[in-house]
C-alpha cells in the first residue's frame, strides 16, 4: 500500500507554499497531517503528481486570543486543540470535539486546517466550527481573505478555496462557559460518526452543526430559528433533520439518520456530550 510516485516539496513559509501551488496548479496537492490524504493515496484513489508538505512551516500552529476571538493556526493538531487550556476555557465545544476525533495517534497527526479543508461531511471539527459561527482565513497570491463557515462548503469534498489558496487560520468567538454539547453516534469507539450534532448556545455566536446529514457539513437552520424564537428544547430537537439529505448506507438508512439527528440534538441541547 504505497502511494503512486510524486515530486515532493517542503516549503518553509506560506508564501513559498503559495508559489508552489501557483506553479504546479491542478497537479499539486497540499499535505498537512496526511490523515485524510495518505489513506486515499495508498488506495490509489488519489495520485497527485506533486505533493507540497506544509510540515516544514513551523509558525502556523498557534492557539491564541485576538480580541474577542480565538485564532488557531491551520497546522495546530487535533491534540493541541484537545489539550489546550485556553481553548477549554474560551471555546470548550471545539476542544471537546477535537478529543473525539479518531484515536490518540490520529489526533497526534491530523490538523485542524486539514480537517476543515478536506470538506468531508462526516468530519467532526467542521460541525463545531459551524456551531460556533467561525471563520476560515485563507491566503493566496493576492493576500488573505476570510470566509464565513457558511460560505465555505460548496459540495461533497468541495470548498470555496481557490486552487492557489491555502487555509492559514481558523477563528472562533470566545464563548466562555456558555452551554454547549457535542454528540457523536457510532458503533465502535474508533468509528467515524454515523451522525453527529454540535450545539453552542447563544448569545451572539450560537448555532447547531450537523455531521453526516448531507453532502457537506450542515447547519440545522430550522432548529436554530426555533431556538431563537423561544421554542422548547423538544420542539427545537424535532426540527433537527429539516432540510437535510442524509444518505442511507451500511451504517443506517437515511430515515435512521434523521431520527438520530433529532435524538442527538435533544441530548446536546441538554448539555450532554459523548466522549
Amino acid at each position: 500500500m504505497t502511494p503512486a510516485p510524486f515530486t515532493y516539496y517542503r516549503p518553509t513559509s506560506v508564501a513559498d507554499a503559495i508559489s508552489l501551488l501557483t506553479e504546479h496548479g491542478d497537479e499539486a496537492k497540499l499535505i498537512a497531517g496526511g490523515h485524510s490524504l495518505l489513506p486515499i493515496m495508498k488506495l490509489r484513489f488519489a495520485a497527485p503528481e506533486v505533493l507540497i508538505d506544509l510540515g516544514g512551516i513551523d509558525d502556523l500552529d498557534h492557539i491564541r486570543v485576538e480580541g474577542d476571538e480565538i485564532a488557531i493556526g491551520a497546522l495546530a493538531r487535533h491534540v493541541d486543540l484537545e489539550l489546550s487550556d485556553l481553548l477549554r476555557a474560551e471555546a470548550p465545544l471545539l476542544a471537546h470535539t477535537a478529543g473525539v476525533v479518531g484515536d490518540c495517534q490520529i489526533r497526534h497527526r491530523g490538523t485542524f486546517g486539514g480537517s476543515v479543508a478536506h470538506g468531508d461531511p462526516s468530519a467532526d471539527l467542521p460541525a463545531s466550527l459551524m456551531a460556533l459561527r467561525g471563520t476560515i482565513v485563507v491566503e493566496g497570491p493576492g493576500g488573505r481573505r476570510s470566509i464565513a463557515v457558511d460560505d465555505f462548503y460548496t459540495g461533497f469534498l468541495e470548498t470555496a478555496l481557490e486552487p492557489d489558496e491555502l487555509v492559514v487560520e481558523l477563528r472562533v468567538p470566545r464563548v466562555g462557559d456558555a452551554p454547549w454539547g457535542y454528540q457523536k453516534f457510532r458503533r465502535r469507539g474508533i468509528d467515524w460518526a454515523i451522525v453527529g450534532v454540535a450545539y453552542q448556545s447563544e448569545p451572539g455566536a450560537g448555532g447547531i452543526g450537523l455531521v453526516n446529514m448531507g453532502p457537506t457539513t450542515l447547519r440545522a437552520s430550522a432548529s436554530e430559528a426555533a431556538l431563537r424564537s423561544g421554542a422548547s428544547h423538544d420542539e427545537v430537537a424535532a426540527l433537527a433533520a429539516e432540510g437535510t439529505s442524509p444518505v442511507g448506507d451500511g451504517a443506517g438508512s437515511s430515515e435512521y439518520r434523521r431520527h438520530l439527528a433529532r435524538v442527538l440534538l435533544s441530548r446536546a441541547l441538554a448539555g450532554r456530550s459523548t466522549t
Partner: protein, 174 residues
C-alpha cells in the same frame, strides 16, 4: 533502485528517483535515501533494519506500527518518511536503557500484557505516549486512549492493567 520500490508497486514501470534523507531514530542520525512516497514504517523496517515495529492492517486501524514522533504516538503506516525529517523518532528498540527495560515494557512483562506479542510494540509505544499525556488516570481513560490499538489475542484486560501499573510506578519515581 532498491527492491522495496519495485516489489511494493509492480505496476509503476518508471522507477522514481530517491532523495537523500536523514532520520533521527532512537537518538541517532541515520543517513539514507528514499522515494518520497515511501511510508515511514517501511523505511524503518526495510531501510534501517529496525523490525521491532510491526505492520498489521496498513490502513491506520490496528496501531501495530505505532512509533513516537517528537514523543507523540503516531501510526507510521500513515506517515511519509520524508514527513519525519527533522523530528525525533522513537521505536520499540529505543525504549530500554541497555538491559534495563523501560517501565512500560517491564509492566507488560509483570502483568502478562502480551500473548502472541504481535501488537505489543505498538501497544507499548502508544502506552508510553498516553502516560506522558496524563491519560492513564483510570481504567476507562486507558481503554479510551488505547482504542487505536487492536490485539487479536484480545488480552486487553492485562494490557490495561500493565499501563496503569507502569503509570503508578513512573509517577512514584518522579
Amino acid at each position: 533502485m532498491t527492491e522495496l520500490a519495485e516489489t511494493t508497486n509492480g505496476t509503476d514501470t518508471a522507477v522514481a528517483a530517491t532523495v537523500p534523507l536523514t532520520l533521527r531514530v532512537n537518538g541517532k542520525d541515520h543517513d539514507t535515501a528514499v522515494e518520497p512516497r515511501e511510508l515511514l514504517v517501511d523505511v524503518i523496517r526495510e531501510r534501517l533494519g529496525l523490525t521491532g515495529t510491526n505492520v498489521g492492517c496498513e490502513t491506520t486501524s490496528c496501531g501495530a506500527c505505532t512509533v513516537l514522533l517528537d514523543d507523540r504516538s503516531v501510526k507510521s503506516c500513515t506517515v511519509l518518511a520524508v514527513q519525519a525529517q527533522g523530528r525525533e523518532i522513537t521505536t520499540i528498540e529505543g525504549l530500554a536503557d541497555g538491559n534495563t527495560l523501560h517501565p512500560v515494557q517491564a509492566a507488560f512483562q509483570r502483568c502478562h500484557g502480551l500473548q502472541c506479542g504481535f501488537c505489543t510494540p505498538g501497544m507499548v509505544m502508544a502506552s508510553v505516549s498516553l502516560i506522558d499525556e496524563g491519560r492513564a488516570t483510570d481504567e476507562k481513560s486507558v481503554r479510551a486512549a488505547l482504542k487505536g490499538n487492536l490485539c487479536r489475542c484480545t488480552g486487553y484486560h492485562n494490557i490495561v492493567a500493565a499501563v496503569l501499573s507502569a503509570a503508578d510506578e513512573m509517577e512514584a519515581d518522579k
